[in-house]
């Protein structure tokens, strides 16, 4: 059943934040709402949790209209970007607090036991007797999460909980979350501007754009089949590359002709992309990791089927074994990922081969996905 949201509207002053948003979150999923800062993710979460009221529209939990149900009577938890804990209570009292006011009338022992268990699970059992201001940022946030989890809410809302944490800690918690929540029945609704975080943890992802969810789907589906340009550009680190090309069809082959005359084969051998019209402009998308960097000799013997793209290197960033190449092409900034360092200086012309089976074709006007070549590896539903 889960949470269903219908036609949600909200504005602050003259600024419309949500404009008729619809959403379905199945029970037991880890659902990420992804969007840049200021797009209304926080508002959406707050309305769903019942902290804020909407201007219009309805939120259902398990099919029940929640508009008249007070927050206290909902089985929800919330974790904020700032580490929100009760400053005057110790970590232990913080954790115990939701249980003490619960109408289930827990006994002292039960409360203690659950506090210990939860603290152990989130690795904060060593700081139970400290005040929140005495612990590190990571521990404070774990405390906030523990307090949200301890009463085993049906729905847990998390609003960029990792944003204010150190990089390494974020990596660690991201991994912990994925494990923790795949074992719990709690449905998690997670807001983040970081595509990477969402992809790492979620089972489902929704992309919020101009007040609506323009796509919400299981994680692999939205990553491998981004239905429109904004989703394609956002969900990926670095983002998907997009170039404009015109479809040309002649007696022997079909190909996209780019502005600089490069031809990208339109999969004649496999019969892909049937629904395209010759003479039209398309946005052709491909992921940076699908661009294969060709060293000098490789370029000469590139695979016959593959398309070769020539671009000017603007800038290289090498982190560990991966180099991110910033490329200037047709007035746009494109990216390519390469395993291993690239020894070339800015301004050098580089060649890349591209598998025509891994292209995404978008309508140049509407921005809608027309065809995608990349296969979806598996649709694991958790």
């Amino acid at each position: 059943m889960g949470i269903r949201v219908e036609n949600l509207q909200k504005s602050y002053g003259t600024e419309e934040v949500l404009t008729g948003l619809d959403l379905d979150i199945p029970d037991g999923t880890f659902f990420s709402v992804v969007a840049p800062t200021g797009a209304g993710k926080t508002t959406l979460l707050r309305i769903m949790a019942g902290i804020e009221s909407a201007d219009g529209g309805t939120v259902y939990y398990d099919g029940r209209d929640m508009s008249t149900v007070a927050v206290q009577d909902r089985s929800v938890g919330m974790v904020y970007q700032e580490f929100v804990n009760y400053p005057s209570l110790t970590v232990r009292e913080n954790l115990a607090s939701p249980l003490e006011v619960s109408d289930k009338n827990y006994s002292r022992d039960e409360i203690n036991q659950r506090v210990e268990e939860t603290a152990k699970m989130l690795k904060i059992d060593h700081i139970l007797n400290n005040l929140p201001e005495e612990v590190s940022g990571g521990e404070a946030q774990r405390t906030a999460i523990s307090r949200a989890l301890i009463k085993e809410p049906d729905y847990l809302f998390m609003d960029e909980p990792l944003a204010n944490l150190d990089y390494k800690l974020r990596e660690q918690l991201r991994s912990d979350f994925e494990r923790l929540f795949s074992e719990q029945d709690t449905t998690v609704i997670y807001a983040t501007p970081q595509a990477g975080d969402a992809l790492a943890m979620s089972t489902h992802i929704g992309y919020l754009h101009e007040g609506k969810l323009i796509q919400d789907a299981p994680r692999d589906e939205i990553y491998f089949r981004p239905r429109s340009l904004p989703v394609a550009e956002y969900l990926g680190e670095p983002p998907m590359n997009l170039v404009t090309g015109t479809l040309v069809e002649d007696a022997t082959e079909r190909y996209f002709e780019l502005r600089d005359g490069t031809r990208i084969t339109a999969g004649s051998a496999t019969g892909a992309f049937p629904a395209l019209d010759a003479g039209h402009d398309y946005q052709i998308g491909f992921r940076p990791q699908d661009m294969v960097y060709l060293n000098g000799q490789d370029a000469a013997q590139a695979h016959g089927e593959d398309t070769v793209l020539n671009m000017d290197l603007a800038f290289v960033e090498t982190v560990g074994s991966t180099s991110t190449l910033h490329l200037d092409y047709d007035g746009r900034e494109l990216y390519a990922l390469n395993a291993g360092p690239v020894h070339a200086s800015p301004g050098a012309a580089l060649s890349f081969s591209l598998d025509p089976e891994k292209l995404y074709i978008y309508d140049a006007e509407s921005g809608d996905l027309i065809a995608a070549g990349n296969k979806i590896p598996s649709f694991t539903q958790k």
């Binding site: 009760y86 939701p98 006011v101």
Partner: protein, 264 residues
């Protein structure tokens, strides 16, 4: 640090008049009137004795303290929910209402003394603690709302939301979570309310006669009476400063927190 000498100089100048009064309070009238001495040559506690043994002066202190405490109670109880409303919710006209409250802080007591007198006469409240305690709400309530609103706005709204999400009812949230957090704010508010009530003269004088006359009024009346008992007057002035000092001492830690987190 050279610039700190200026501060020290100012602090010294600040203390001179106070020292003069203190100095006077330990002198007999003869010494006061006859010669200029920078410390009491004939040290005496007679002035203090006279005050502490006189019913007239003693009741002045008791009246003052009772009125100020009553006023603090009224103000704190009403200002807390109002400040909460201003700090937590946006509602139509909130800014204007807030400004209107503040205009009452601006209101000159002199402009209100006549209607106050008539109003309280009609309820037979003249010369009771009630009259003065209620009248002082005129300027203390806005001040209290203003200070408390500052403190409350410094506490993230998310704390409230967390508490409600955790299942706290509103009273439980206020009692267990919110009040402990706002204690410094309440202390600062109570301090200022008490002080302003304690030092006010005009309304207190208008609304009281013999029975409920606070110390400030006693002081001016005895001054006007022409007795010119300077030693006693100085001693009374020194004693009038004592309650303020005691309160500051009691809430000094909270005041420090208050100064750093709120507006004053």
């Amino acid at each position: 640090m050279k610039k700190q000498y200026y501060l020290i100089l100012f602090l010294v100048l600040l203390m001179v008049p106070i020292y003069w009064m203190l100095n006077m309070s330990f002198k007999p009238n003869s010494e006061i009137l006859q010669q200029l001495t920078f410390y009491p040559h004939e040290f005496t506690l007679k002035n203090y004795q006279e005050i502490l043994s006189s019913e007239f002066w003693r009741s002045g202190y008791i009246n003052s303290i009772s009125m100020a405490l009553m006023n603090v109670t009224f103000v704190t109880i009403t200002a807390l929910p109002a400040a909460y409303a201003f700090s937590r919710w946006n509602f139509r006209g909130d800014k204007h209402l807030f400004f209107w409250f503040l205009t009452n802080r601006m209101a000159p007591p002199a402009a209100f003394m006549v209607p106050f007198f008539i109003l309280y006469s009609n309820f037979n409240l003249i010369d009771t603690y009630w009259a003065v305690a209620l009248a002082h709400c005129l300027f203390n309530l806005p001040l209290a709302i203003w200070i408390l609103e500052g403190f409350m706005s410094g506490i993230p709204k998310e704390i409230d939301e967390m508490a409600f999400l955790d299942g706290h009812s509103f009273p439980s949230f206020v009692w267990n979570i919110f009040l402990p957090l706002i204690t410094p704010g309440i202390a600062v508010t109570a301090f200022f309310t008490f002080m302003f009530s304690w030092v006010e003269l005009l309304l207190a004088r208008t609304l009281t006669n013999e029975a409920a006359q606070p110390i400030t009024v006693t002081l001016t009346r005895s001054l006007g009476a022409g007795g010119w008992d300077w030693g006693v007057l100085a001693a009374a002035g020194v004693l009038a400063m004592v309650p303020g000092a005691i309160i500051v001492y009691l809430v000094r830690d909270l005041l420090a927190t208050g100064f750093s987190m709120g507006r004053v």
